[in-house]
């Protein structure tokens, strides 16, 4: 077993082992166990990333020779999403150490969430993806239940029902494709489907099923209701995962299916399907942004912003040039960091000032200047002003779309900056220029670690924006292979 494969299993198993340890040993504080296991996962995934960037993609098949088995396929892209996952879960640990939630009920699903995301991004097998999606949905449901608000159980139930429906629709598509192509290994299935023919109505049907199922898990309009609901109900660190990582995992699965199984040729052969998804995604971008205008509550605003951002990301993927796909990937990563940190800032403010809405945010900057500055910095990144990552992602997507002659996409991507500005500025305005009229639980109510996490994230959004070319160099090979027609 090579080092890469060892690391592959390490990132999959380390959080799971951590979860097991938390479950079995109630004496030790689960926080320490989680930190150790996620810290090791972070090291392992960084090493994995380095190796995959240096040596190129890896395929590993686990199972009986000639019999059933599970294929793992990893490249720089999968490890990017994996890194996002582990960076976020590790960062959130800094926040929840004092703020909670505490206890096994939280940490077991928390760690399994991490494993499940790694599973989704490393699987090369469509059933494997399904299995890990189911684990992800279970873990998310448990995490949502850890909230303190009334009715979280109902919210969690509703979420599970909706998400399971999405996963099932995806599964129907997979079953159909496997029936047509005879294999559940993504690449091999891809060749088989090419032989069946991309204009075959059953092939198209299976694609549509998979897409709709995953679109529900990504929370594209009009399938976005669950995200708004869970986002609002869950505790803030859980919202950070729901906004930052959960749709990202589903988008990643979609990316694999799009390019590995169905390939660019499928998109070219079925312009109606392609355009349908592109304009659907653009619609999501617009509607998400517009619905965000009605939100006085910070979490509601963030939820709709997430929906619009994933519209942008999916649109970029469908443009399907190297430039645009890279834009989507860096946007996926940057958005995860920014939105995750934003949820934590919202949590910080709620803990210290009991404030949730625009009006309650009034004048906080005078009392908590650093938190306010982090809020402003993250706001700038979310709006997408240069040189933050939010701008860079849009730039690549816009340039890529224009190269393909999709000027409508370019126009909306550029224009979305202005739409985002419109609903973010009222919060910033209130924080800085409003008058304080609420409770202040004192600066000791939040720890400096919590503040450090969000300030770091704000700086990271700037750093990623400035270092986009380095990212591009790391991801170039993987994206080239992805977008090019597969050869075997």
């Amino acid at each position: 077993m090579s080092l890469v494969v060892a690391l592959l299993f390490a990132v999959l198993l380390l959080p799971a082992i951590g979860a097991l340890a938390v479950w079995l040993d109630s004496k030790r504080t689960p926080w320490t166990v989680a930190t150790v296991s996620l810290g090791l996962t972070a090291v392992a995934s960084t090493l994995l990333a380095t190796l995959l960037i240096l040596d190129g993609p890896t395929v590993y098949r686990l199972g009986i020779q000639g019999g059933p088995g599970l294929v793992f396929r990893s490249d720089a892209l999968s490890v990017t999403v994996g890194l996002l996952d582990v960076v976020l879960t590790l960062g959130i640990l800094g926040y929840i150490r004092t703020a909670g939630p505490h206890g096994r009920e939280f940490y077991v699903p928390y760690l399994l969430f991490t494993t499940a995301v790694f599973g989704v991004v490393l699987s090369g097998d469509l059933f494997g993806i399904y299995a890990f999606l189911v684990l992800l949905i279970w873990a998310t449901g448990r995490l949502v239940e850890c909230g303190e608000k009334a009715g979280v159980e109902a919210t969690a139930r509703g979420y599970r029902r909706t998400a399971t429906l999405g996963a099932s629709v995806y599964l129907v598509g997979v079953l159909l494709a496997v029936w047509l192509g005879g294999s559940s290994d993504g690449r091999r299935l891809g060749f088989a489907l090419a032989a069946v023919g991309y204009t075959d109505s059953l092939v198209i049907t299976s694609f549509v099923f998979m897409t709709v199922g995953l679109a529900l898990l990504v929370a594209l309009v009009p399938l976005h209701g669950w995200l708004v609901e869970t986002h609002a109900r869950a505790t803030d660190p859980v919202s950070a995962l729901i906004s930052g990582v959960l749709p990202a995992a589903a988008v990643y699965a979609f990316l694999r299916i799009l390019f590995d199984v169905f390939t660019l040729e499928f998109l070219t052969a079925n312009p109606a399907v392609t355009n349908g998804i592109i304009y659907g995604a653009i619609g999501s971008l617009l509607v998400g942004n517009l619905l965000a205008y009605g939100q006085r509550d910070i979490k509601g605003m963030l939820a709709y912003s997430t929906i619009s951002q994933f519209g942008l990301i999916v649109a970029g993927l469908l443009v399907a040039t190297e430039t645009a796909v890279f834009g989507s990937v860096i946007q996926l990563f940057g958005h995860g960091i920014v939105k995750g940190a934003f949820c934590l800032v919202a949590g910080l403010i709620a803990i210290r000032f009991d404030a949730r809405t625009i009006d309650e945010f009034g004048g906080l900057a005078n009392r908590a200047p650093l938190v306010a500055a982090a809020f402003a910095g993250l706001a700038i990144a979310m709006i997408g002003l240069p040189p933050t990552v939010g701008f860079v992602g849009k730039w690549y997507i816009a340039v890529g779309a224009l190269e393909q002659g999709l000027w409508v996409v370019t126009a909306f991507v550029v224009f979305s900056t202005l739409l985002t500005l419109g609903y973010v500025i009222p919060f910033v305005d209130s924080i800085y220029f409003g008058t304080f009229d609420g409770v202040d639980n004192g600066s000791q109510s939040i720890t400096s670690t919590m503040v450090a996490v969000v300030v770091l994230a704000a700086l990271l959004s700037l750093a990623i924006g400035l270092a986009s070319v380095t990212f591009e160099a790391f991801l170039r090979e993987a994206i080239e292979q992805l977008v090019a027609a597969p050869v075997e």
Binding site: I383, W395, P426, F433, S468, V469, E472
Partner: protein, 551 residues
């Protein structure tokens, strides 16, 4: 050979001036000083001496760095700092070229004046949140210098949006309902403009494969524009419209008069030092160094732009006539004068371009002086309206004298800097059409019309014997010798201004000294324009873009 043709002598090879880039940390340093100053200000927020002194030191350092580059720039070298790729195909690079150096030099010199004045102003006004205010001022100006030195469109956009980030807290500074509303509107306007520019940049990058400024136009863009004229036209219109928002070109100007709610120092910075200037500067870059004069003309954009600018000049001046609020009157005057710059560029004639670029400096110095006069006036006498101006010259003789100097300059009277820039505009504009000089002459007269009542009222009227203002709404020819008390004045019959000698005791030295420095600059630049680098830089910039030598 007409005298006009004598101004232009064709140069055999093109762009030779601009082709020598030399690696040099100074352009980056010129920008970084202001950003470093922010750190010092925030760190020293509990020590007023550090907080308030830092901008002055930083501005002087910045001037020194920029001034040290001027000889290189004039010798045709371009000090360049390249920090490597920003996004694929575009470098994060800043450079001191003639066009950028004009703007950077003006901004940094006026920053020093502003920094001193600001000290006197915040104390006189009792402004709160001084750390935020001082830091935001540094951010605005530092990013303004970044706009000047940006070597490509994307870097320019970065600093352009940063200017907005810096000025937004300044505009909304007072935190009143109205200030917040205006701040919100300001951001919506200027980020909207910035977004249009980004859209244009995406198209330019797709067409030409580069967004790096090149005098005379980005290589390859002309051919690409010929191949895809619609896309190119969309790009140039988007970029010009985007920059025109900050440049307050009608009909995109509405934010500027409303932003007068900000503290007066901030208004000065908006009007003279960085903000609106970065808008017209962006237009200059777009026309001269992105598309190039030829492609701009080929796309049929030059003449419409000139017409819009001419209309803005006249309408802005006419609207200024009607304003009673001093700051609003100055604001409409700015709207009109910014279009002098745009008109100069849009005419696409070398001499006019020189005039337009020189007017960036000419207008900046004069308008800053006027705003600072109005600020000092408000602090010392609480006079904020033209209708309250009568007799104020007795109380503040030096301030109002400086106001008169600034007004003369903007009206374009000889021996003041405004004449020098206007001369080039007249000479160059005449080459396109006699309408251009006509517009400028009419506008000069309107300038006199809206400034003269202020100067006249301040020095030659008393609160008891004053014409109703604004004059436009009073009876024709005024009401000479009327003994009726002026209804509009808040000063009662017995509330005469105390007569003060012109020795500078009329206000805090922190307010008076910057004013005198500006007046000196207006006159010096007016008399020795040929010897004070700005004009020379403007010529070098026009030379490079047109491939001709402008005398």
């Amino acid at each position: 050979m007409s005298s006009l043709e004598a101004h232009l002598e064709w140069r055999p090879t093109r762009n030779t001036l601009a082709e020598v880039a030399m690696t040099d940390p100074r352009p980056l340093a010129a920008i970084a000083i202001a950003f470093f100053a922010i750190v010092v200000i925030v760190a020293g927020r509990r020590r007023p001496a550090i907080r308030d002194g830092t901008p002055i030191v930083a501005s002087l350092l910045t001037i020194a760095v920029i001034a040290s580059m001027v000889p290189d720039v004039l010798a045709g070298r371009q000090p360049t700092t390249n920090l490597g790729a920003l996004v694929a195909g575009i470098d994060l690079s800043v450079q001191a070229d003639p066009l950028g150096t004009i703007f950077a030099l003006v901004a940094s010199c006026l920053w020093a004046v502003t920094a001193v004045y600001s000290l006197g102003y915040v104390r006189g006004e009792g402004l709160e949140h001084r750390t935020r205010y001082t830091a935001a001022l540094c951010l605005s100006i530092g990013s303004g210098i970044g706009v000047a030195f940006a070597s490509n469109l994307l870097v320019l956009v970065i600093f352009y949006e940063l200017t907005t980030v810096g000025t937004y807290p300044l505009v909304a500074h007072r935190g009143t309902e109205r200030a917040r509303e205006v701040g919100y509107e300001y951001v919506a306007y200027v980020i909207g403009g910035g977004t249009l520019v980004v859209g244009g940049a995406v198209i330019v990058y797709t067409l030409a494969g580069s967004v790096t400024f090149a005098p005379g136009g980005i290589p390859g863009l002309a051919d690409a524009a010929a191949g895809a004229p619609t896309a190119a036209r969309v790009a140039i219109v988007a970029m010009l419209a985007g920059f025109a928002v900050k440049g307050a070109i009608m009909p995109l100007h509405a934010w500027l008069p409303r932003a007068m709610v900000a503290p007066t120092t901030v208004s000065g910075v908006l009007h003279a030092v960085v903000v609106v200037k970065s808008g017209v500067f962006g237009i200059a870059r777009t026309v001269l160094e992105v598309f190039g004069p030829e492609t701009t003309a080929d796309l049929g954009v030059g003449t419409p732009l000139a017409i819009i600018a001419a209309a803005t000049i006249l309408l802005g001046s006419l609207l200024a006539l009607r304003q009673d609020d001093l700051k609003r009157r100055l604001a409409y005057s700015t709207v009109s004068h910014l279009s002098y710059v745009v008109l100069g560029i849009a005419v696409l004639v070398p001499a006019a371009v020189v005039g337009g670029l020189f007017h960036i400096a000419a207008h900046a110095v004069a308008k800053l002086a006027l705003f600072f006069c109005v600020g000092a006036l408000a602090i010392e006498t609480d006079v904020k309206k033209v209708s309250e101006i009568a007799g104020v010259g007795r109380r503040m003789p030096l301030t109002m004298a400086v106001f008169a100097v600034g007004a003369c300059s903007l009206a374009g009277l000889p021996l003041f800097v405004g004449f020098a820039s206007k001369w080039y505009l007249l000479v160059g504009g005449a080459e396109l059409s006699p309408i251009v000089p006509a517009v400028l002459v009419v506008s000069g007269a309107l300038n006199v019309a809206y400034f003269w009542p202020i100067v006249y009222g301040a020095f030659f009227e008393t609160p008891e014997r004053a014409d109703p203002k604004p004059l436009l709404e009073g009876p024709m020819g005024g009401t000479p010798g009327s003994d009726e008390p002026n209804k509009h004045s808040h000063v009662t019959m017995d509330g005469r201004w105390k007569r003060l000698p012109p020795t500078g005791v009329e206000a805090s030295p922190a307010l008076v000294v910057p004013l005198l420095a500006l007046a000196l600059a207006i006159i010096a630049l007016g008399i020795w324009a040929d010897h004070l680098v700005v004009l020379e830089l403007a010529r070098a910039a026009a030379d490079a873009s047109f491939g001709v030598i402008v005398r």
